[in-house]
Amino acid sequence: MTDEWDVDDDAIWGYVSPSEARVPEPPVEEQLYVGLSVLRAGLARLRAWVSGDAVPGETRTVDEDRAAEGGGALSDALRDRLAPPPDWTEAVAALDEVVGPDPEATETPPLVYEPAYHDAPSIVEAWGTRQDAVVLEPPPRGRLGEEDGAAWVDAQREEGAPWVLPRLERWWLRTPDGLAFVRALLDAWAAGTLGRGVIGVDRHAWRYLRRAWPGRAPRRVTLQPLSAGALARWFRALAQQGGASEGSVEERDDGRVLPGAGRSSEPGPAATEEEEPPSTFLQSLAAFSDGDPGVAWALWRHSLRAPRPATAGSATAEVPPWADLDRPERPDDLDRPGLLLLHSLVLHGGLSDATLAHVMPVDRYERRDRLRTLRRADVLTKDGETWRVTSLGYPVVCGLLRDEAYLSDRRDDG
């Protein structure tokens, strides 16, 4: 197991080759707990099946529910101060080191794997904006068949100026026309005929497109997954940006998660006897989110609670124990059409009802039923006309797709 708490390097953000990216691992006790939970859930499901009952969910008493919730709801104002939306300043600076403008550069800029979080500007987009690069917009998906990918980019870019194309997964559709569009784009990009441009893409989508586009493999970089220590430093920096530099967060009954300013920012080894023992909450969070900052931030923000009276003096907010944290879980009744739906949404970074009909050979009533079920489970959300996997549901969906032998996002084969 990699114990990131021992890392002395204070750097939070860094871009590395995908083969060098190390996904954080959960604490040993959580691995045991998860193993036992899986066994217990499997036996419960089998017992329910044998007795002909519905599959039992997690049933808690009111007291347990209250205990699980920890303190009361945190005010929106305090939540915004403790965990404001990230602006990616430091991440952009790190990206600049690997794709920064270099007039002498002759090779194609690298392809950047983007974190999964969909509700904030992408890091590649933020980098482009700071570089005064042209941020390209994709065509409506319904028009992909009439357009040429290279021509579409060429029409938007300015001669001699850099451009960025964030979220390539939104630039294609899993149809022959959609493939033709993105192939033309990638061919022109790899050949250098479109000038210097940086492309950001979701890891799932790229693995798929790599099988469909036989062009020369570009150099790829990915954000180094955030370890527990990196998360602690980042959340502290966010709290300082939000004006809550003194704010500290504790895990209910299990010690300090995030110290206030002036206390050690490395809760693990730096903890003294006077201080509360470190919690493993951030280690679990880092492992659950695969070190993805967007997912980790969304879950961190979601987990913050008002402190109970007993800890109100020492902490600004608290989080429930990791095992009690209310987060999306694997839907028990997920069937094949549901899986196909999730896979399609992940590959495209979200799809509308109309485009889903093009890529899913499933009856529209059946499709609508699955979408509603998955939305109730907080795995999907509808953003305008577009269905997307939620930030909190993203790790769950990735795990499901890996287990069901869909193209895994963890391997990197070009």
């Binding site: 044998v50 493939l179 469909a212 094949r336 196909l340 050979p361």
Partner: protein, 269 residues
């Protein structure tokens, strides 16, 4: 010289009978439990573990039965060399005359489990019948055809029939969609187009190869699009998806389908 029966069989006490009955009861119960709940437990597992778990069911049952026999035989027979020879000789005679086919199937069942000729979850074709193996029993296996008909195939078929196993205990099951075109067309264009049709199927296991095989026939060109679905149970949906979208793509590209050739006038001899 054949020993007297009283020399072969133990003097059976009530305790021995109780022990035999208890062993039988436990073995039967365990076998039923494994048979009944094993496949259902496997269905609860993630897709990539399902077939491995299913394959354990007949193996477990065989182990239970073998263990029960090993425990029961010494309760009834004095386990000396002469006794075993006599018992096996008598059993062989009975089997040779009366239970030949039945025992042949039982033995083939053991070979099936040992060699893995087919396992639950495999898609096999025996004597022209194609279906998914549902259970592998001691004497026979049951398979369910795509039309939801259960076919019981004695393991004895292993000795005399060709058994076609499409996925052989893995998730990899190749599907083929056929297309027939008139010969006047650009074959490279059609190959690329059909490959894209497979690449864009939601059922596709993209980690497995896609291939387009072409054969020129007197009536036109025969294209076979070969690819693998993520789950073997999706094979018919996958083939249907390939066929429907492939035909649509060929039509959209103005590629003429093969037509039955009319006999040329005056060509008859």
């Amino acid at each position: 010289m054949t020993p007297e029966p009283t020399d072969i069989l133990r003097e059976i006490q009530i305790e021995g009978l109780v022990a035999v009955a208890a062993i039988l009861a436990v073995a039967v119960t365990l076998t039923l439990l494994v048979q009944r709940y094993g496949p259902r437990l496997a269905e609860q597992l993630p897709g990539r573990y399902r077939l491995s778990a299913l394959a354990l069911v007949p193996l477990l049952r065989l182990v239970i039965i073998a263990t029960a026999l090993v425990l029961i035989v010494p309760q009834l027979i004095e386990p000396t060399f002469e006794n075993l020879v006599a018992i096996l000789g008598a059993a062989g005679l009975a089997i040779g005359f009366a239970l030949k086919d039945y025992v042949s199937s039982l033995l083939a069942g053991i070979v099936v489990i040992y060699e893995g000729a087919y396992r639950p979850g495999d898609w096999v074709e025996v004597e022209g019948e194609y279906g998914e193996v549902r259970t592998v029993g001691m004497r026979a296996m049951e398979m369910v055809t795509p039309d939801d008909t259960v076919i019981v195939v004695p393991h004895q078929a292993l000795w005399t029939q060709l058994i076609h196993n499409a996925n052989d205990g893995t998730q990899d099951l190749q599907c083929v969609a056929d297309f027939y075109l008139d010969s006047e067309h650009d074959g490279r264009q059609v190959r690329a187009l059909l490959r894209d049709v497979a690449l864009t199927s939601p059922y596709l296991q993209i980690e497995r190869p896609i291939d387009v095989v072409v054969a020129e026939q007197p009536w036109g060109t025969h294209y076979r699009l070969k690819a693998y679905p993520v789950d073997p149970r999706d094979q018919f949906r996958f083939t249907t998806d390939l066929t429907v979208r492939g035909q649509a793509a060929l039509r959209a590209a103005d590629l003429p389908p093969a037509r039955a050739r009319r006999p040329v006038e005056g060509a008859e001899g």
